[in-house]
Every structure is written in C-alpha cells, then in structure tokens.
C-alpha cells in the first residue's frame, strides 16, 4: 500500500494539529503611561503559517513583536512560543528576530558583516559554547542567501542601511530558525531587491516549513505573499485569509484616511501573486 500521494494531505493536516502552535498570545494587554498600546490581543500562529501583520503607524505592531521575543514585560495576558511561556522559553535558536532598521551601529564598530552574522549562531550554543569554523561557513551561506556574500569582509559601520538590514536578516537565517519574525525588514531596500527578498521568504516557508511573521506597511505585498493576515490597531481587528480583509470594511475602520495611502493605486499590480 502506498503511503505517498494519497496519504499526504491527511498527514499534513494531522501534523498541523499535533505540532504545538508556534506562537500563542492570549489576552495580552500593554499600557504605556496609562494609555493602552495593546488591548486584549489573542492570536494563535500555527507552525508553518506565513502571517502578514499590518496596521497604521503607532498601532502596536512593533510592541507586539517585541513582546513575542521577550523584550517587553508582560503585564496582562500570556505569550507562548512553541508551547512554552516566553519567560521560561530557552531555545532561542528556534526564533530568528530582525528588528526594525538598526539604529546606527557605531560607525567604528570593529566587526565585519560576516562577524555579525556568525554571532547569530550563539543562539544554538547554550550557556558557554563558542562559535567556530563550521559556524562561519554557515554564516557565509546565509550571507549568500541574502545576496551579501560580496560584502562579507566589509565593516558593518561602512554598510548602507539596506545592506545592514540584509546582514541582520542573514544573521537570523544563520540561526536556522523555525520561526522568523521580521519587523519592516525591507525598509531602505530598493524594490527589485524587495521582490527577491519576498521570493526568498516564500521559499523558506514552502521548503523549510518555516513559520513567518512579517510586519510591513506594504499591504499589496502582504496580500500577495502571506497566507494569513492580522490587522492590528491596539486591538486585533482581523485575523484570517487575505481575501477576507478587503470585504468586511476592516481597512476603512483601521486605516481611516490613510486608506488611500495603504492601497496606493500605483502598486495595485502587486495584489496579484507573482508568477
């Protein structure tokens, strides 16, 4: 009896139900100086899901991501990564996080692009382990993936904002993460490179079964690429298939007068998936 093609779909579905969710947020509320920046957020992101997170400026997107990776304290509610409470979570090698464009690294920071990417491997080394030659090879491969291998030996301080952003992406990829969290990763990157980058994310998701959370201002890109969309404006207004987002008037509610900007006509071609 063949276990191949016929069994594939049910197995796939079974796997999705058996693997713990990559991220489980429940009842998360966060206040800054009396004002709620996150209001009762509950969100489950399954293993292998490609989630696009959108919302207007100041809607709490970055705060939510920072809370997921343990950089913000949790006052109310809970966050679990792979079934473990984030405060007790230790397997950080499984989580690649690319923050919003690096505040200028000291221009004289004494490290090459490759040196910075290698540091990502520390997440797989426990408390005392060191990174070595094999890790450098792996880091170089990650730099190649993001098209930065020609710049491996340049000082990070000498790189442009977009180049530095790609180094940080390479560093996250060098961790061999199961969950990749990206906060506006293509800021400062030109549009052709952006297309290549989004194709890379597609590949990582389909081939490596990576779970991806992508924050972007670029709604058309999210609509075309992501499998699910979450729309945040302090509270969660939508979580589901991209198609559903345009129907319920969510965009109008959340973005208001910014709506035209978000759905900018010159970018409508992106609404259709790339060939």
């Amino acid at each position: 009896m063949s276990v191949g093609a016929a069994a594939e779909l049910p197995l796939h579905a079974l796997e999705a139900t058996l693997r713990p969710a990559a991220v489980r947020v429940s009842g998360l509320t966060r206040c800054y100086g009396g004002e709620r920046v996150l209001d009762d957020i509950s969100l489950t992101i399954n293993a292998g899901e490609y989630l696009g997170l959108i919302g207007p400026n100041g809607s709490g997107k970055s705060t939510l991501l920072r809370t997921l990776v343990g950089l913000e304290p949790i006052e109310e509610g809970s966050v679990q990564l792979f079934g473990t409470d984030v405060a007790r979570f230790r397997q950080w090698g499984r989580v690649g996080y690319v923050p919003q464009i690096q505040k200028m690294v000291r221009h004289d920071f004494p490290a090459t692009a490759l040196d910075v990417v290698v540091l990502g491997r520390l997440s797989r080394k426990g408390r005392l382990g060191r990174v070595g030659a094999a890790d450098r090879t792996q880091a170089m491969a990650a730099l190649t993936t993001v098209g930065m291998h020609h710049h491996a030996q340049r000082r990070v301080g000498d790189l442009s904002g977009g180049e530095r952003q790609r180094v940080m992406i390479a560093r996250a990829l060098a961790q061999e993460p199961e969950l990749l969290i990206l906060d506006e990763p293509t800021t400062g990157v030109d549009s052709t490179s952006q297309d290549h980058f989004f194709s890379l994310l597609d590949r990582l998701q389909s081939q490596e079964r990576m779970t991806i959370i992508l924050v972007s201002h670029d709604l058309p890109v999210i609509m075309a690429r992501a499998h699910t969309v979450a729309c945040l404006s302090r509270s969660l207004h939508y979580h589901g298939k991209p198609e559903g987002l345009l129907e319920g008037g969510v965009i109008e509610t959340v973005f208001g007068h910014e709506r035209g900007l978000v759905l900018g006509s010159h970018r409508h071609e992106h609404l259709h998936p790339h060939p």
Binding site: V95, Q102, P110, A111, L119, L122, G147, V156, S199
Partner: protein, 302 residues
C-alpha cells in the same frame, strides 16, 4: 648631567627588584584594563572606570574610618568592597531602567567621593600620603604581596573574559538582539561591571584612581581607530596600554616625574598621534579593502 639616561634605566631595572615589580605589575594591569576597556568603550560606558574609582576612594576612606572602631580593613580591601558595590549599584539602576548609564555613573561617583571625604574627615587624619598615593598611584611601592594579588585577579578576569568574549561582542553590537539570541545580557553586564570594579582597584596602585581611564579607555579608543575587527582591536589595545606603562615608567625614571601622570600622558600622546595620522590620511580609506559592490538590484537573487 644630573639626569639619569635611558641606559641607566635598563641598568636599574636589572638591579632593583622594586623596579621589576613595578614594571611587571604595570604591564599586567595594563593588559587586563585594556582588554576590558574595549567592551567598556563599545558600551558607551567610558566613564565607568572613573565612577568606580571614586567608589573605591570611598572604600579607602571607610578603611581609615573603620580602623577607629577596631574594624581592620586594608585600604585595598575597603576599595575593593566599595568599588564592587558601586558596580552592582550601577547595574541595578541601569537594568531596572531607573536612570540612564551616564546618570548611574554620576550617582555612584558622587556617592563614593562624598562618603570618602566624610569618612576621612571623621577619621581625622587629613589627606595624608596614603591618600595622595591612592589618588595618583605609586607603582614603585608595589610589594611582592601586591604583585601576587594583581596577577591572580588579572588572571581570573582574563579567564572570565575569554569564556564570554563572543557573547560580550554580541552585547556590544546590540544588547536587545543579543538578548533574543538567548544571551543573558543583564547578568553578563553586571558581571562586566564587577570585573571593571576589580580592575579599577588593581589599577589604582599603578596610576591611581584619578588616572584609571588612561589605561582603561585611552588605549582601546586608540585601537578602535586602527583595527577593523574586534580581536585585532583587543590585541592592539593591550599592546598600546603595555607600551604606555613601559614608556611612562621609563620617562618617570629619566625625568624624575610622577609615574601615574607619565603613563597617562604617554597613552594620550599615542592616541593623539594616531588620530592625527587618520585625520591627515585621505577620507576613502574605510572602503579600501572592500571588493567592488555589485549593484544593489542584483541582491537577493536566488
């Protein structure tokens, strides 16, 4: 000629154990202060050496004061106690986000100096020779015991730094992303503050509290202008600090000036020379080693 010359310095070095101990202590302290200093400078905490040095001053005052109540602490023990406490207070203030790093240093600085002055005035001994040598160092009075203590402390600090070198690099690059790599940033920062406190106390004997930065900050600042990668910068900083101690000691002997001051001035002289050199060189040097960049649009290709 009344002044001794350079050759006499080397002759004296062969004959006088006190001079040998001075050189050895100076070189060991320089090495550990410089390698630690690289991380201190990269964390933008350059004044921490001075802050902790003034904490240590409070400890010296405390040891004089405590002697009046039959609690016998050597000035060195008092200094160590207060400097390490100062380092922990800085960590507490910064990690709890109560104040910024520079403000935390200012607080510990004032606390140490304030306590020191009050303790000394209560002890009623005035600012005697002990205090003066403590403020400006007295490398020529390093005893065999002092030397032993310096070497043991320096070795311990060296081992800890070697173990956590890569993690401290990640923290220096960006503390937040280091934390998401699973590195215990807050604990390692506290440890670094404690190591800095210990280094300050052993550096006191060589350059005194007021000139600790001459070994901890100036050589790393010089090395950062030359080296492109952290290992190179660390080695350069160590060599520059050792050079400053050696030449400083030599100048002090030849020209009969205070050793701590001479070490600081030599260290600064090298910094100035390197800065001038960089300033005079063409501006495009930073990219000299970089290969030709491919057009950005070619990037991210599968």
């Amino acid at each position: 000629m009344a002044d001794p010359n350079i050759f006499e310095f080397f002759a004296a070095l062969q004959h006088y154990p006190f001079l040998q101990r001075a050189l050895l202590a100076g070189v060991v302290v320089a090495a550990v202060a410089a390698v630690l200093g690289v991380f201190v400078v990269l964390r933008n905490m350059s004044m921490i050496g001075d802050g902790l040095a003034h904490s240590a001053f409070g400890g010296v005052g405390f040891s004089l004061f405590a002697a009046g109540y039959a609690i016998f602490l050597t000035p060195l023990q008092g200094a160590l106690l207060f400097a390490v406490s100062g380092g922990l207070i800085i960590s507490l203030l910064v990690e709890r986000r109560l104040v910024g790093g520079d403000t935390a240093l200012g607080i510990v600085f004032s606390l140490g100096l304030g306590l020191g002055v009050v303790f000394i005035s209560v002890a009623g001994k005035g600012l005697g020779v002990d205090i003066f040598s403590f403020l400006f160092g007295n490398i020529l009075t390093v005893s065999v015991d002092d030397l032993g203590l310096i070497v043991v402390m320096a070795a311990a600090i060296g081992v800890v730094l070697a173990v956590f070198y890569q993690r401290y690099t990640a923290i220096a690059f960006d503390p937040e992303s280091a934390q998401v790599l699973g590195i215990p940033v807050s604990a390692l920062n506290t440890l670094l503050n404690v190591l800095t406190a210990i280094t300050v106390v052993i550096a006191m004997k060589v350059v005194g509290v007021l000139l600790v930065s001459a070994l901890m900050i100036v050589p790393p600042a010089t090395a950062l202008q030359i080296g492109r990668r952290l290992p190179t910068v660390s080695v350069l900083a160590v060599l520059l600090a050792m050079l400053a101690v050696f030449v400083g000691l030599l100048c002090s002997y030849v020209f009969d000036v205070a050793t701590g001051g001479a070490v600081a001035l030599v260290s600064l002289g090298v910094f100035l020379a390197v800065s001038m050199g960089r300033w005079l060189r063409p501006r495009n040097e930073g990219h000299a080693h970089a290969p030709l960049a491919p057009p950005v649009s070619k990037a991210f290709q599968p």
